[in-house]
Assembly symmetry: C2
Homo-oligomer: 351 residues x 2
């Protein structure tokens, strides 16, 4: 296969972890006879510094003309204390999602047996957890009308969803459930929000098209509880943009493997793959960041190209590195630890 | 003191747990020489059945002319599967909050040493947890304009906040922090929402009026993580209605003592006190529900009347019952358990 992959390393530890994923993918390409053409482009604070824009048009062109995007992380502490600043890295993220049509964020949460004791939750609560949250990513209150009235003394945001937007993400959810345990949970706040009632009613109408899928409806507040109590009771969950932002982050800490969790943001044309951890500025440039989440994100990318065997090979080598203790300091438990680049080299060599 | 207390038992286990709180308060009244005049009124599904309305005008009159409201729980399974039904118990709740001006929901999360092992979280994560979430309760997306467009194919909800609404809840937050560890966390999504930027900017302006309070600003998604990771790192948190709905429920399960957590909803005039657990219909009428959350809610009520000694007496007798194992079956760990009414009798007798 010939693949053009846009490479958006971004800020902080982004470039370092991206480098390792590239090494691993290149090893896969060699072994399985593919050709990957990496196309680096600027994003985040790095892009603001270079061209004054977190998601420059040139970067968009590169992404839009590629087969997929591999993404590191964005965000820089100098933007943290002024959320009303005119130019912010996050705006680049939102613009990118919208312009690339990445309407579904796919966030798996699963456990690694060897890491389960790192979870803040008790072992018996998380063993067997294997859930996916599908977050709507280009609609809702993130993209509705917002502003000020009364000389700035009143602020408003609008959450809007159209039937078509809900059908599109629901379809992804039903299809995903069909490839898994066939259980789908629509997470909403239909007892209060009209947009949630549209969601629920749309899911209810679609149930008959997927008779094998067992659908449940839960309110977001109840889910925020159950995710902590019984994360292993969920299979696929689908929810709107804002609830997804909160619940995916909540879910990310329950497995104890946050530093290893990959994600995908997909649309009708192109997918973007990124680790869920952030830019972790304190570790930037130190060659200590854990590259596994990014490497596993690359595996999700290959999976989406139907390169199932290749994706499995990446997951296998990651497991092997964990078993062999070839890990960065966050996972070494006081034992020997390896540099980011050493872990990447080991993974590539063991593909 | 002479107190008129509206008594809204509501649905499910509401009446049973309310009965025990009344017993305990009556014992307090006798011992400390107060006079409590209980004024029962209908609410929830019970009110819908009786008069077709979950929060009838007559109930409102009784509440508005009382010094406080003691509330059980509302909700009935027959309303669960149709969130778009015309008359629902929850609407009564929202109407009641708005009409009584209960703009601040106060939700403490703390641990009982004897119950700590019931938590889904590991002991070392929750020991020492003692936080309060202040949820704005009469504004935001719960009460903004909402509706359908395009023949019902588009739905929208509006989140609106005025400066005055934010100042009012922020003031409560700063004042509460002053009575505690003097740390305040403003939880928002100021990197996306204009209403959150109004919140943050308002808190920032008010900081100088409370120089002793250390204020932090966190995004709601980060808080959803940290609440599970390090709940004991928080003191007072303040947030808007919708985020508060999610975070208070998430917080409620971390201590392992959900069945014991009280809450207050307060405004400028009147306060409403209720257990955070729901109507638990499966247990209704069986005399098995745990009354402690309701009893502790009554303690919050007395505290707000500055009856500090009386409130402390209630908390002390609750601790004594836990130590003595005079508990309902949810806490008995297979040992001897007591009926709801027996626990209430014991508490009243031991005041
Ligand atoms: C940075 C922020 C705008 C973004 C979001 O809220 O979507 C982030 O939290 C995420 O989840 O990717
Ligand atoms: C029943 C529902 C409308 C209500 C809310 O969302 O406020 C409940 O979840 C709560 O937190 O009291």
């Amino acid at each position: 296969m010939n693949l053009d992959i846009a490479l958006l390393a971004g800020d902080g530890i982004g470039p370092e972890v991206i480098d390792q994923a590239v090494k691993v993918c290149n090893a896969i390409a060699t072994k399985y006879n593919h050709n990957i053409n990496w196309k680096p482009a600027l994003t985040g604070a790095a892009a603001i510094d270079a061209v004054g824009e977190p998601y420059p048009d040139e970067t968009h062109e590169i992404c839009a003309s590629s087969d997929a995007v591999l993404f590191g992380a964005i965000g820089h502490p100098r933007f943290d204390n002024d959320p009303s600043a005119k130019v912010r890295p996050e705006q680049g993220l939102l613009k990118m999602r919208k312009k690339l049509g990445l309407f579904a964020n796919v966030r798996p949460t699963f456990t690694f047996p060897s890491l389960i004791d790192k979870s803040p939750l008790k072992r018996e609560r998380i063993e067997g957890t294997d859930l996916i949250i599908l977050r709507e990513l280009t609609g809702g209150i993130y993209f509705g009308e917002r502003g000020r009235k009364d000389d700035g003394e009143t602020a408003f945001d609008t959450c809007t969803y159209t039937r078509a937007e809900v059908v599109r993400i629901a379809k992804k959810g039903f299809e995903l459930a069909m490839t898994r345990d066939k259980r789908l949970c629509c997470v909403d706040k239909a007892n209060v929000l009209e947009s949630s009632r549209l969601w629920r009613e749309t899911f209810q109408r679609m149930e008959k098209d997927y008779p094998e899928v067992t659908v449940s409806y839960e309110f977001v507040d109840a889910v925020a509880m159950r995710l902590v109590q019984w994360p292993n009771s969920y299979d696929v969950m689908v929810t709107m943009n804002l609830f997804g932002d909160i619940l995916t982050d909540e879910a990310s800490v329950i497995s104890g493997s946050m530093g290893l969790m990959p994600s995908a943001s997909v649309g009708d044309k192109i997918g973007l793959y990124e680790p869920i951890h952030g830019s972790y500025p304190q570790a930037a440039g130190k060659d200590i960041a854990n590259p596994l989440a990014t490497v596993l994100s690359a595996a999700m990318m290959l999976e989406d190209f139907k390169l199932t065997e290749e994706a499995a090979a990446i997951r296998a080598v990651v497991n092997k590195s964990l078993d062999a203790g070839i890990v960065t300091e966050d996972l070494s438990e006081g034992g020997k630890s390896y540099k980011t680049s050493e872990v990447g080299d080991w993974l590539a060599a063991n593909i």
